[in-house]
């Protein structure tokens, strides 16, 4: 057990080093000319003939690759990810401001994704290969086959353009004014949580109304995934001897399913839940863009379309570090829960 944890912790710096290598090789692929463009603030700076060459020298873009790498990694170690041209501030500050929005969405979305997916998966497993099973699988597979931006646009079309219930964006103007006022304390920078802590329920309802569209989109798209795992593990469990014993004891089907089968079928679902939170965090790039939510995902997408290289590389770095750390925590906690994992 201890050996496993020590091994995983020793590997952590190796993985992080590897990520910096990949991201730096992407910077290197840009070449000095395109990198220079990220430093130049106005066309006047390039007026004189040798200006470009002088600037390339000034920023060290002509130095050997290895020197450039160590300079860059030195900056990263000090928390300096470069300057973001679209946010007009350092990349690390721009990212830190946007993380709460993304985290808030992922946290709320994972509840219906897991609860709904398990519920559908259990039903599907009980009615294996019956019309209900086929129906549930087709409907959820359509969701799995649906590009997030297409379904997001359809949700917007129905619930905003036609019905006017759930607007895109983050908050209404009124709520934003309350958030800026002096008596509002920002505990978590997440409007839904802060509004409860500030005991302001109109802001909570407003923030939640803006969340429903993205949550609906994410849930429908992810149900098939949870359903598939629950369903196949349910099928496996239902074949076990202890289920046959429970039935032979004369227990009603309800008790067999609820007390004996479902609990055991949920173990593999728990195993994927942590990893799913990570995928959700990365998957919000598109959903945030469609629903105009000012989170890290939309920031990354905007940076990519406007060729703001340092912002997009910085976001990739942050996404990857989050992914690695969460995976590490998840794996170690499973090793505690399930002794079989340690052996492999």
């Amino acid at each position: 057990m201890t050996a496993y944890i020590i091994r995983r912790l020793l590997l952590l710096p190796v993985i992080l080093f590897g990520i910096t290598l990949i991201i730096f090789s992407m910077i290197w692929m840009l070449g000095p000319d395109r990198l220079l463009a990220t430093y130049v603030k106005s066309p006047e700076a390039l007026k004189s003939e040798d200006a470009a060459e002088r600037l390339i020298k000034k920023y060290g873009l002509d130095e050997p690759t290895i020197v450039q790498y160590f300079k860059w990694i030195g900056n990263i170690a000090q928390g300096d990810l470069g300057y973001s041209n679209i946010a007009k501030k350092p990349v690390q500050e721009a990212i830190a401001e946007r993380i709460p929005y993304t985290l808030e969405l992922a946290m709320w979305a994972i509840i219906p994704v897991i609860a709904g997916g398990i519920w559908l998966g259990v039903i599907s497993g009980i009615h294996h290969n019956q019309p209900l099973d086929h129906g549930i699988r087709i409907v959820s597979l359509i969701g799995w086959s649906m590009p997030d931006f297409v379904f997001g646009l359809l949700v917007l079309l129905l619930f905003y353009t036609i019905l006017g219930w759930f607007p895109p964006g983050y908050l209404s103007y009124e709520s934003e004014a309350i958030l800026r006022s002096a008596e509002w304390t920002k505990y978590t920078h997440m409007a839904t949580i802060d509004s409860i802590l500030n005991l302001n329920f109109s802001v909570f309802i407003d923030a939640f109304r803006h969340l429903i569209g993205p949550i609906l989109t994410i849930s429908y798209l992810w149900w098939a995934y949870v359903l598939r795992i629950t369903r196949s593990s349910m099928l496996e469990v239902l074949k076990k001897d202890y289920i046959r014993t429970a039935r032979a004891k004369g227990l009603s089907e309800n008790v067999v399913i609820n007390k004996h089968a479902r609990k055991n079928a949920l173990i593999p679902v728990v195993t994927v839940a942590g990893g799913m939170l990570v995928s959700l965090l990365a998957g919000v790039v598109i959903v945030e863009s469609v629903f105009n939510r000012p989170g890290l995902g939309r920031f990354t997408a905007d940076a990519a379309t406007q060729l703001d290289y340092f912002s997009i590389l910085g976001s990739a770095m942050v996404f990857s570090v989050i992914l690695v750390l969460v995976n590490l925590i998840v794996d170690i906690s499973y090793a505690f829960i399930d002794p079989r994992i340690r052996l492999s």
């Binding site: 990520i19 992407m26 290969n129 086929h134 353009t161 997408a301 290289y309 990857s320």
Partner: protein
């Protein structure tokens, strides 16, 4: 030989027993026919690249469907033409990316499990590192750096798409190493390389093919998402994501541009659904646990 054929026939019968599998197969055949008949349904203009949607009007505003343009016009491009030729683009993206990345994965996985020790450790850590950058974000940066165009999108998807197969193959080979038929081949004095290629790979390749078919759909979605965000195929390319990206400019007036979402969107959902159903069915049929 005849024994193999009966086995295949039995598998087919089991595969076709499920209505969802039949639905997926029928949808897939439908798309294959459309892709083959694209030049007949929508003849390209002479001397023009057939994958460039011909310009129907110079105004950027969406034009509702009519007899001449059954799916309407957006960004000056005929949506019907784009949807039909987009089928070919979708097959190209899905098949090329999934097959090449699976090929790379098979090679990395085989080398890793064959040599073991340090080589295995290094290759698997490289795999871990590539897996720790979120796929969509990685593909997005790569296309921003390589520049627009479907070719570059495909390169980006391949660079960050081989790792799962590598892990799968490595695991399968490691498991197969201790099985009877491999031990028997070893006892006969057959060389390790030959054992892998002749005995182990044919027995472990099927899960890879299932995974390839299940990935095609999500690859087409990712490529379309890149186009939708504006970092994918170049404007006017016959690709479903590109047509959908035109509707992004009309998001506040969805009532005027619904057809630019509905038709390419439906085509894409059905295409991806077809592959997912077929992949799901193949897995259920060949996974002994599901019997």
């Amino acid at each position: 030989m005849s024994e193999k054929r009966t086995e295949f026939r039995r598998m087919m019968r089991r595969y076709l027993k499920s209505p969802t599998n039949v639905l997926g197969t029928v949808l897939l055949i439908f798309f294959i026919i459309i892709a083959i008949l694209a030049p007949v349904i929508c003849p390209p203009q002479a001397g023009q690249d057939p994958f460039k949607i011909p310009i129907a009007t110079w105004s950027a505003a969406p034009v509702a469907p009519s007899a001449d343009h059954p799916f309407g016009i957006i960004g000056g491009r005929d949506i019907f033409y784009g949807v039909i030729w987009g089928t070919r683009s979708a097959f190209k993206i899905g098949l090329v990316v999934s097959l090449i990345s699976a090929f790379i994965g098979v090679i990395v996985g085989s080398i890793s499990s064959y040599f073991g020790g340090w080589i295995d450790e290094i290759l698997m850590r490289i795999t871990d590192i590539f897996m720790s950058i979120p796929f969509l974000v990685a593909a997005m940066i790569m296309t921003t750096i390589l520049g627009k165009g479907l070719g570059n999108v495909m390169i980006a998807l391949i660079i960050f798409g081989w790792m799962r197969v590598a892990r799968l193959i490595r695991g399968n080979i490691l498991q197969a190493k201790s099985e009877q038929y491999v031990l028997a081949a070893k006892a006969l004095g057959i060389k390790d390389g030959k054992i892998i290629i002749k005995h182990i790979l044919p027995n472990t390749i099927f899960p890879v093919l299932v995974q390839v078919s299940m990935r095609i759909g999500s690859l087409v979605i990712t490529a379309a998402a890149l186009s939708f965000l504006g970092v994918g195929a170049e404007p006017g390319y016959a690709d479903w994501g590109t047509i959908l990206s035109y509707s992004r400019n009309w998001m506040t007036e969805l009532s005027k541009s619904w057809f630019a979402i509905l038709y390419p969107g439906t085509a894409m959902v059905l295409f991806v659904l077809a592959w997912n159903l077929v992949g799901d069915g193949l897995r259920d049929t060949f996974d002994p646990k599901m019997k």
